[in-house]
């Protein structure tokens, strides 16, 4: 049974539970890392297409980024290196909680930029059918789970950086 106590939080779970959380962490990390690298390695990639499709109450904000070449460059840069850094952090379990939170924020922006709300139509082809809930929202939620159950100090570099979680006796949990 792995247990964790941090800032008053207490976590105890079985090896299987821990394994499942670490696997989820690494899979999402893998996804983020490749999304970032694929953009980095594609000289034609820009967030402008996605931003121009923006719908909903933040659409004015997103399209105004495209209108400003400097802002667009900054957003492209942040996107690429943000995805890479978050992906690496999640895979190796380094700064796991900040990485999970940053990833959730990024996904929230993606979700709000092109929300699958009733009545919104997008010209980009999608690979599935969505009603309000899409894969961004689900991955976002999974990252929230990982932020609440950070596993980096059990299996991950955080263990070497910050030490393992202190043991908590379940009798006193």
């Amino acid at each position: 049974m792995a247990r964790q106590q941090r800032h008053g939080e207490k976590l105890t779970c079985s090896g299987w539970q821990l394994g499942a959380l670490v696997a989820l962490r690494m899979l999402i990390g893998w996804h983020f890392l490749y999304e970032g690298l694929a953009k980095l390695l594609n000289p034609y990639w820009s967030s402008s297409g996605y931003l121009l499709e923006a719908k909903g109450f933040l659409s004015g904000f997103f399209t105004s980024i495209v209108a400003n070449p400097t802002a667009l460059r900054v957003v492209d840069w942040l996107n690429i290196y943000g995805l890479i850094a978050i992906g690496l952090g999640l895979i190796v379990g380094c700064l796991t909680r900040p990485a999970a939170i940053a990833g959730a924020v990024l996904l929230l922006l993606y979700y709000l930029c092109n929300p699958p709300f009733v009545g919104f139509k997008y010209s980009a082809p999608t690979e599935g059918s969505y009603l309000i809930v899409n894969k961004n929202l689900i991955e976002l939620c999974a990252l929230v789970v990982l932020a609440l159950f950070p596993t980096g100090r059990i299996l991950g570099l955080d263990r070497l950086l910050f030490g393992p979680p202190r043991i908590v006796d379940p009798q006193h949990a």
């Binding site: 049974m1 105890t12 034609y44 209108a67 190796v92 263990r159």
Partner: protein, 533 residues
Amino acid sequence: MPEKNVRKGEPQEQQPQAGRGIGRREVLKGLASVPVLGLFVYGLLKKRSLDESRRAQILSELGLGEAPAVLPKTTGKKAGELIRLGIIGFGGRGEDLIRAAGFAHPDWVEQKRRDAERNKLDKWLEDWLKQEDLNLALTAVCDVFDVRAERGLAASKNEVRPGGAGAPLAGAKRYRHYQELLASKDVDAVIIATPDHWHAQMAIDAAQAGKHVYLEKCMTRTEEEVYRLHEAVTRSGIVFQLGHQNRQQATHAKAREIVQKGILGPITLVETTTNRNSPGGAWVYDIHKDGSPQTIDWEQFQGPAPHKVPFSLERFFRWRCWFDYGTGLSGDLLSHEYDAVNQILDLGIPHSAVASGGIYFYKDGRDVPDVFHVVFEYPERNLTLIYSATLASNRNRGKVFMGHDAAMEVGGVLTVTADYESTRFKKKIEEGIIDPSLPLFTYHPGAKGIDAVTSASEQYFASRGLLYTYREGKRVDVSHLHIKEWLDCIRNGGQPSCNIERGFEEAITCHMATKSYLEGRKVFWDPVKRRIV
């Protein structure tokens, strides 16, 4: 909350050995997930090398470089000595051209400033102000409608222009008759943007007066005028540019390169179209409230028109609807499509033409068809060129070159798709290197070069022009480039890309279509007598 997840079970965590550094077991736990990173890097490298080799094989198979299209030459030097420009015909197109040359009416500037305030993506004014200063002075304006002539004068004096305060601003003089403008010593070169029925006579007179000519399409209204204009321009030695700004379009230059490399294989069919579905697109232009016999020189407007009729606001403002002044779809839009294909394939004049169509939607008194199709045959090239147009549907149809090995669609973006029955690509298709269900490659002028094998969604955005239009916030007006090429030739010698020979081919081809439609028969080009028969 975490408390809810507390499960009973055996504790696995051990108390770290206090104060004795990090043990081997600790390091293993700390680095437990690092091997996954190794797996990731392995997968990434493998995918990269596969993609790269596929891309390299495709590009070497095609013999295409990454370099952007070779565009018509420009000197790249500072714009040389001042050229004094006159404009004959300051209507819609005339105003566009003069703006492309660097002079905008203050109302346009104000309108675009407001548009940009409302919509941050609207960069018209910003892009226009960044345009190169061509070292021109607009010295002469001629229009038979007072309102338009006044607009021209106002544009010539507008200090808001590319090049800013340093750019020349002479202020133009108004000429009531184009002959007076051509006789002026203050004019080196003229842009002629009148209705088609005036094109030939004005350009001939300009050539004889030694003025360089930029002439709007269609080059002439009739076949006979083509021969006279060709002779006058050839004899005079002036620099002549026909207004097919598509000559500056980078995708067209790339398309030419692709055809010359034989990537498409034998091309047997080219399909070009125009579809429009608005009154403006069907030449039902606004009638200006100040238009009247007092403000319009009706006699001069009619000039060489075959039928003289009493003053008509409709005919003046919507002249494209009558054969007296233009040739409808043939001279207005087929001419652009034909010139683009001629630019890419060097087709020249067709062997024969058959046209059909009718007035099927705009039954407003016009005599030119609003649905129009032409089939041109080029037996020596083993090729047919089809043009098809309607003014009552916006259904998008591309400009498509159909070859045995691949098909190419040319627009703002160029796409080449291999044919699954191709002989040339047979092996590569069997090996799975070329996928005929996806574009072989696409070319976006806004991007760095050829983007071989893109994903479906990238493909989609590119075809909508969404990826590159605002990437650097820089758009260049093709009409500006076309005028610049003309001016470069005036200053430095040489022939512009749409010179009198290309104009001759354009005008004869359009007139073959018109003649076939009007006479209801197949017409032929006699290359010996150089006449349509």
